[in-house]
């Protein structure tokens, strides 16, 4: 069992977490959004091999956060509360 660090609750079992998507994939704003932009937001993914910045949710406390991970070694590099482009 791997432990993931919730920025609010500390290290918890991986089974308490759910993957949410790419960090930085921000919903397009405005009335006129081109089809390709919408399709990109909804479907296209970076899916990097190596370091990834991802949105996760800790289902126990219900908080979303950003986690940096290596997708090959599964090593967690950092986890932090949402901010910047994902500021609530």
């Amino acid at each position: 069992m791997q432990l993931f660090p919730c920025p609010f609750c500390g290290p918890r079992d991986e089974t308490e977490f759910h993957y949410g998507g790419d960090a930085g994939n921000v919903r397009p704003d405005g009335a006129e959004v081109p089809i390709d932009r919408w399709a990109g937001y909804l479907y296209l993914r970076g899916n990097p091999k190596g370091t990834a910045r991802e949105i996760w949710v800790h289902m126990s406390c219900g908080e979303f956060f950003v986690m940096e991970r290596d997708t090959v070694t599964h090593k967690v590099l950092s986890s932090s509360a949402l901010g910047g482009e994902h500021a609530p």
Binding site: Y19, Y43, L44, R45, N47
Partner: protein, 417 residues
């Protein structure tokens, strides 16, 4: 020199001391240019090479494999062959694969050990039975064999299932496909490789693609660990690594890569002669010809490129298995492994030209690529030869994500992948 495999050649070679056998495929040095290059020497890539040479007479072609052929998901799946899908587009696609599988041993002169022992997808409630009936109706209307099983029918094909009244996953019936079954996965890769090689296709192992050659906005070849190789058209069939190659080509795909685990028990005497899937337990199981119980389940829930599984998922799968078949509690697990699968939001593959012209895609099969190998190969070969879709591949183009014409088999057939 023995070229063709038959009972007679086996007998003759026995008398001759097994001295006349040739390597099943050639291992030539890569040429500087080809009519077509296929990236990925798994089942789909090798099948593409074979159909390119056989159906389209293009044998100046090469398969480039970074490791050894059949060493990715082709060697890591649970060998199930079936075509029990819901939407007409999927029925055409998987139906084609299923029909080609049925003639494949003869076609390739290589025994792929197809065993059509049938598969039952269990229904654990009256509601699931209604969905099961809907699936069976859809399949029958599309001309695919399917039968709605009663609890008695399930008891007949899988008598060792846990039918006790306090079982966690009671059986209300099931969806039966009699033509489904298993095939020898390595033989599929090796058979296609041998047949393609005999038609003149070069199979280049230990040759990794480091970059694409892009000129005038079109793909003109690949840079590899063994030098630059140019080609008129390039196809990729690299499953879980599709996004990595797409990144080198300058575009993104609607794909997340996940690990999918499987495991086998020690070999035991015949006890289960069909494939049983329990959506409730999230487990499917069959017994291999060697006697091992072959166990598969759902995806690991963490995006990953590590070809190994996480323990919590394995625990879920094994506990589900023991609910279904308590008798398997006596077995020892012998091996456990994982492959990296390319999961698409609508659980249907992506077949067509990529955003980089001259580069064609065969990816997004998720957890269900093995059963589709003959179709994936046929359709990518057609694209590489003609540059155009046919009626079967057209609905699976990448453009469905912008147009919204998704083929959502996760919702349609209720099969997790």
């Amino acid at each position: 020199m023995t070229r063709s495999y038959s009972a007679l050649s086996l007998f003759k070679e026995g008398l001759a001391g097994q001295t006349g056998w040739q390597p099943a495929w050639r291992s030539p040095e890569p040429k500087p240019s080809y009519d077509a290059i296929i990236i990925g020497g798994g089942g789909h890539g090798l099948a593409t090479a074979y159909y390119l040479a056989r159906n389209h007479n293009i044998s100046r072609a090469a398969v480039m494999e970074k490791g050894w052929i059949g060493g990715g998901n082709t060697g890591r799946n649970t060998t199930v062959v079936r075509s029990n899908y819901y939407y007409p587009e999927s029925v055409e696609l998987y139906g084609l694969a299923h029909r080609l599988y049925e003639g494949l041993s003869k076609d390739l002169n290589y025994n792929i050990m197809l065993s059509q022992r049938g598969m039952v997808s269990l229904c654990h409630s009256t509601i699931e039975m209604e969905i099961g009936a809907r699936t069976v109706n859809a399949m029958q209307i599309s001309g695919i064999d399917a039968e709605l099983f009663s609890p008695g029918d399930v008891r007949r094909v899988a008598p060792i299932y846990n039918f006790s009244p306090d079982g966690r996953f009671p059986v209300f019936g099931g969806v039966w496909q009699g033509r489904a079954g298993t095939a020898r996965h390595d033989a599929v890769a090796w058979g296609y490789a041998r047949a393609a090689s005999r038609l003149g296709v070069d199979i280049i192992q230990n040759c990794e693609i480091s970059d694409f050659i892009i000129e005038g906005g079109r793909c003109r070849g690949v840079q590899t660990t063994r030098g630059a190789i140019r080609a008129e058209r390039i196809g990729m069939a690299v499953a879980g690594h599709s996004s990595v190659l797409a990144g080198k080509a300058g575009f993104r795909l609607p794909i997340n890569s996940y690990a999918l685990q499987a495991c086998v028990s020690e070999p035991v005497k015949p006890i289960l002669d069909t494939v049983v899937l329990s959506p409730g337990a999230g487990v499917y199981v069959s017994q291999s010809d060697k006697g091992e119980i072959v166990i598969g389940g759902g995806l690991d829930r963490i995006p990953s490129y590590a070809q190994r599984g996480n323990l919590p998922t394995l625990e879920t799968v094994i506990s589900g298995l023991l609910e279904m078949f308590p008798v398997f509690g006596q077995l020892k697990l012998m091996r456990q492994w994982a492959g990296i699968v390319d999961v698409v939001p609508d659980s249907s593959p992506i077949i067509g030209e990529s955003p980089l012209p001259n580069l064609f895609l065969n990816c997004g099969w998720g957890t269900g690529g093995f059963k589709a190998i003959p179709a994936g190969g046929t359709l990518l070969a057609n694209l590489l030869a003609t540059g155009k879709h046919n009626d079967i591949s057209r609905p699976f183009d990448l453009d469905r994500f912008a147009s919204g014409r998704l083929i959502d088999e996760a919702a349609g057939s209720g099969i997790a992948h």
